[in-house]
């Protein structure tokens, strides 16, 4: 029996189509898995069903009847609930309060019925008896809990809706094995009760442990639906990759440096918040890629190397000399450069002229106390021109430039005094295609001039096209190194989706 049906549902954000003409059937009493790479449209689809995103077109049928979902409250009244990947908990409220937040039991119409509140919460907490960990209780405040405990609370909160369609969007990312096992037992019970579960996860083993059917999404389109019993991981990855799996042939056009070249940066057993035991070497003239799913430690490693978040242990050698990344001022003076994709927050100095946006790193490295505008301009212009930045004048505000040109200004900042290593943290986020091509050509040129470059890109194509070697991150450590002809989308996905 089909419980929920999506007919031609589409959603676009500006020019990007997050979801186009999606058709999906969810049966009663099944766990239906959604699979797709970063930004393929899984979350958009689930948010549309849960009412927090409005579709542009298409129709949603529940029990055969077309329904309109105007918001989370209305989805809930239709018996649809969602586990939010980014959690929806109130940090200063207790576990019990959070579980029933949307549906507080009341006495005399206005008062909170504390007893019923706790009884109800106890019911859901008991489901996870023995795996909740230390310090977990009904009156524990959310902000005092660990990440896995918070995730459990969000699961309990979702379960407490007793909805007939429940979406779990990466509900297991912070849980340990015992917690996941318990969660799956509960899901099986829900299945027996005839409820429908939409399950999103990146862990292949989990999908095969709990799923009944799997639907693969690629670039906002539904690629196909398979019974889990009739498929295997390789087939699913092939469907996610699609037919356009051009091996990473492009960088072969130039000669990748070989072992004889001196290393620009060498990292041994670097450990810190969000990553552990990271070891790698970047040779001079090489672009080293960091790949994998979002948030597997790639950015954290780059930020640690830059000194923005101090690592707890490990050894870093820059140009053969040990580097202590105590803070960004230190690492900058030693020749480390870092460009963030989050231009607005971590790149441009908003509201200031282009010149002032180019100069600060030079002032810092040169220990300059007085800035002479003519001397400054003389240094800024060549750096900007080398990047073929389009701008009307150095005195114009940075906001007068397009996103791509703003990012060039940010990169130019690092080029007045040559850094030894350039760390690129998803540098092309929100930049149009032609500017991207420009930027990568430039990055390749910098590499050829002898700089060591580390590139993290959330778009897999950028990585495959531009990196000489790719380190695939999963769960905070490096799972696999892809070199030469191994650099294919298939290999990249396989390493990224392996059980962590």
């Amino acid at each position: 029996m089909i419980k929920l049906k999506l007919n031609g549902v589409s959603k676009a954000y500006g020019a990007t189509k997050a979801l186009s003409q999606a058709n999906l059937d969810i049966e009663a009493g099944e766990v239906h898995v959604l699979m797709g790479s970063n930004g393929s449209g899984k979350s958009t689809l689930s948010k549309i069903v849960a009412g927090s995103v409005k579709p542009d077109s298409g129709e949603i049928l529940l029990d055969g009847q077309p329904i309109t979902i105007t918001g989370p409250q209305s989805a809930r009244s239709h018996g649809i609930a969602i586990f939010y990947q980014e959690l929806s908990l109130a940090a200063h409220r207790t576990v019990a309060e959070n579980i029933s937040l949307a549906n507080l039991p009341s006495r005399a119409g206005i008062l909170v019925d504390q007893e019923t509140l706790e009884e109800r919460a106890q019911h859901y907490v008991t489901l996870f008896d023995g795996v909740t960990g230390d310090g977990f209780s009904l009156d524990a405040v959310i902000q005092d809990l660990r990440a896995d405990q918070r995730q459990l609370v969000e699961i309990m909160k979702t379960l407490s809706t007793e909805a007939s369609v429940i979406i779990f969007d990466e509900a297991t990312s912070a849980l340990d094995r015992a917690q996941v096992d318990r969660f799956f037992e509960i899901l099986r019970t829900l299945k027996q009760q005839g409820r429908s579960i939409i399950f999103i996860s990146h862990r292949m083993d989990e999908i095969f442990a709990i799923g009944d059917r799997v639907t693969i999404i690629r670039d906002g389109k539904i690629v196909g639906t398979k019974r889990i019993a009739d498929t295997n991981p390789a087939e699913i990855i092939t469907m996610m990759v699609g037919s356009h799996d051009e091996a990473g042939a492009k960088p072969a056009g130039h000669s990748a440096p070989t072992g004889a070249v001196a290393s620009a940066l060498s990292v041994q057993n670097l450990t810190g918040r969000g990553f552990k035991d990271i070891s790698f070497t970047v040779r001079k003239g090489e672009i080293l890629g960091f790949g994998g799913l979002h948030g597997q430690g790639q950015s954290a490693v780059l930020r640690a190397l830059f000194g923005a978040i101090p690592p707890t242990s490990g050894k870093i050698d820059l140009d053969g000399k040990p580097l202590d990344p105590a803070n960004p001022r230190q690492t900058i003076r030693h020749g480390v450069a870092y460009v963030s994709g989050d231009r607005a927050r971590e790149g441009v100095i908003t509201g200031r002229p282009i010149l002032e946006n180019v100069m600060p790193i030079h002032y810092l490295r040169d220990r300059m106390k007085l800035a002479h505008p003519v001397v400054s301009a003389g240094k800024a212009l060549p750096a900007l021109q080398a990047l073929r930045t389009k701008f009307a004048g150095l005195g114009f505000p940075i906001s007068s430039l397009s996103g791509g040109n703003q990012q060039k200004v940010v990169i130019a900042r690092w080029l007045i005094d040559r850094p030894a290593v350039l760390l690129l943290d998803d540098p092309t986020k929100g930049i149009d295609l032609s500017a991207k091509t420009d930027l990568f050509a430039l990055i390749r040129k910098l590499a050829e001039e002898g700089m060591g470059i580390v590139l993290y890109a959330s778009e897999d194509a950028e990585l495959l096209d531009n990196a000489d070697r790719i380190l695939v991150f999963n769960g905070g450590s490096i799972r696999r190194e892809l070199t030469g002809a191994e650099r294919t989308r298939y290999n990249l996905y396989q390493a990224a989706y392996e059980a962590a």
């Binding site: 959690l87 200063h92 409220r93 309060e97 937040l101 549906n103 206005i110």
Partner: protein, 330 residues
Amino acid sequence: MTMASAPARSQNRSALKRAFERYPFLPALIILVVLMVLNGWFQPRSLSLSGVTGLIKTYLALMFLAVAQTYVIYAGDIDLSAGAIVSLVNVVIVAVMTALGGDGLSVMAALAVGIATGLACGLVNGLVVAALRLQAIVATFATSIFFTGLALYIQPVAGTPAPAAFWRTYGGRILEIPFVFYAVVAFAILLVVLVRTRLSLRLLAVGDGQQEAYQSGLPVTAIRMGGYALCGVFAALAAFCITGDTASGDPLVGGKMTLFSVAAVVLGGSALAGGYGTVVGSMIGALIIGFINSLVFFVGTPSEWQNLVQGLAILLALMAGVLVGRRARA
């Protein structure tokens, strides 16, 4: 021996930490006690029954207004029109009482009209901030000018006396106990009830994160409007106290109280960002401001220096509160 005492000490430590986390107004309470001792030191009579009665009579209005402000701040909003609502309700009830003859029944009618006025003002604020989604700080600043304008229209100049039946009751005694103490007890009962309401919990949840609350299925707009409505009603109660204390109508009486109410909320340990706080803390905060003002007077500060010393003392109290809280929670 040392092995055994270490965990015991850390247990004490975490019990202290828990206490400060559960009762964020504890630092304020400590400051209040210190200020009371200092007041008693410099002017022993200030801690006598009549001294305390006088202080409560003067600062009960600010206590109500601080509580009013707290409900809005719970949700991460702010109400810069709270003082203007006090002014408006003040002139409205004086006008109604005078028009109806000034006897007991007319006082009751005027109070009902006053509550309705406060509620209406709160709903207007809720409408512009939560429903129309204007910036709270600017929108309520604008409505404060609007409410003050209404007050000036009803009573262009200060000084219309309130009927004796009203202020004699407020300043008088029932069964040998000053009336304000009954008011404080009623106030406390009201707050105990309100703490247990769904609205109070939902306001805090909205303050913790509007997006999260919305995604949880909470009616965020209605909840924020509820906060403003509650604020309006408590501002009306504050106006009753100020009318009882000053015994007259004044269209500008509440204006300068607005920021004092915000200061009292912060002194009480609530977070301006929302999601965290207590109404009891705000009451204590209002009392701290009251005791600071009287202390500045009792130590004999020359009148031209009083504002400066008051300002410094409030700053010190804020700092002390932050430091004590941080120490205890660390």
